[in-house]
Amino acid sequence: MQRYIVKRLFQGLLLLVIVSTIVFAVGRLTGNPVDLLLPEEASEEERQAMIEALGLDGPILEQFVVFITGAVQGDLGVSIRYRQPAVDVFFSRLPNTLMLMPGVMLLAIVMAIPLGVLSALRRGRLTDRISGTIAVLGIATPNFWLGILLIYLFSVQLGWLPSSRMGDWSHFVLPTVTLGTFLVAGFMRLIRSSMLDILDSEFVKLARIKGLSEMKVVWKHCLRNALIPVLTLWGVFMGALVTGTIVTETVYAWPGVGRLTYEAVIFRDYPLLQAVVIMDAVLILVINLVVDILYAYVDPRIRFT
């Protein structure tokens, strides 16, 4: 188990190194990084000071060392728009994004598991067709447009729910639904296909022969095993979640990390964007590590391979 954790940790650090190398390289590729890192109206002195601080007149390897040393100490530059350390801006917005997550997860689970299981049980019948259609539509509908459609229906036409910003519970409904729908389609199909595999396996036949009730066979024996691939693909879902958050928070003007990413792009705030990208990588890494360890704990087959 320890070896497994160390291995995972090492893989995670490798990802972090790749991400920061790419961020570094992308920043230097396009001419003078000072232009990216400083506001346009910066004085000549400020420019000189930055060139010295980053060693921009020195060899590229030295610059990389300066960049990495800064990054490790949590210094990823100063946001042009907010005029404070980019990492601080990131952490001031993070709680708002995290507040959305329990609802999104709950929605994804409450919708995806029953629909996925039912459509596997009634393969090819009406329930399966309906959930299949929902999945196909869910995958084809761009997240940002779904958000606007929901605003049009529930804020503009019906006037039931607020269309933007944070506030009481009613502000949470539309962003949660938008982001949740984005995940449900994928989740549901995955659960369906792994349920189909498992319903065919020997231990399910055994459970039936033993005379267990169908309820127990399906919801206990099968579902538990069907959820394993969901955990395996967790990393992919995390990626999708980050993408979905950027788009959803932009649509609803939700003051979280996703909206911050969008602002960094729109205002060409390179230091901020660089910080967001690297901090996202750190977050993804930590969460994936925790999930991987839990996963190995739940399924002994993993830790011995």
Binding site: V26, P142, L149, G235, I246, I266, Y270, L273, D280
Partner: protein, 274 residues
Amino acid sequence: MRKLPWVSILIIGGMVFAAIFAPYLTPHSPIEQTLPDKLLPPFWEATGSTKYILGTDIFGRDVLTRLLYGARVSLIVTALSLLVGGGVGLTIGIASGYIGGRLDSLLMRLVDAAFTFPAILFALLLAVTMGQGLDTLVVAIGLLLWAGFARIIRGEVLALKQRDFVALAKVHGCSELRIMVTHILPNVMNTFMVLVTLNVGAVIVAEASLSFLGAGIPPPTPSWGLMVAEGRGKISSAWWLSLLPGIAITMVVLTFNLFGDWLRDRLDPKLRQL
């Protein structure tokens, strides 16, 4: 074998037709502004006119015209980024699978990393450093695609490598490169084509999302994602501005996905699991 998916073929054909012949299909310009005619609703609404069938935007540009030209942008971006991203994935997949060893484990590590880290962030980074444009967009979406291609093609190559015809080619004295290009490559082309079709929908959504986030083709060139973004602020007074392009995106993506499923079942049922 299922019969031909005529509905999909018709819609895809229609989109390609619109993209090629857009200038002949409409009397309006997608870019020129006609301010007196701004914000007219579609013709079926009371104040709409048949001159602008789907209404006009805040600059008085015809929405239908911009949708037609937007199909062009969508298709060009899709074709180029599939060529770039798919091509890189194909090359890496073949090299990784055939050569194996250290190269394989290194490349597959990179693929794993690419799967865990959302490529959209790199795409946004590129848009800020390189500036918005077709080249940036193609590279950015290529980044989104290569890993998926590489992983699946590699799997195919691992199986192909064991086949007799490869051993025979080796006995004949073919160089490794020659084996990869003339013996392995043609055998993964089926899978490659299926992957390309299955990814068209995802690429169209990616293009639209990046344009929506201000990191795609710069205005005033009409792109569906950009049109949705531009209409967003006017959703309470002019619904058609962002809802119509969204319908176009959803319909086209849905169609390509269904067509991709059909092609997969036809050419390469093994990929079913994906």
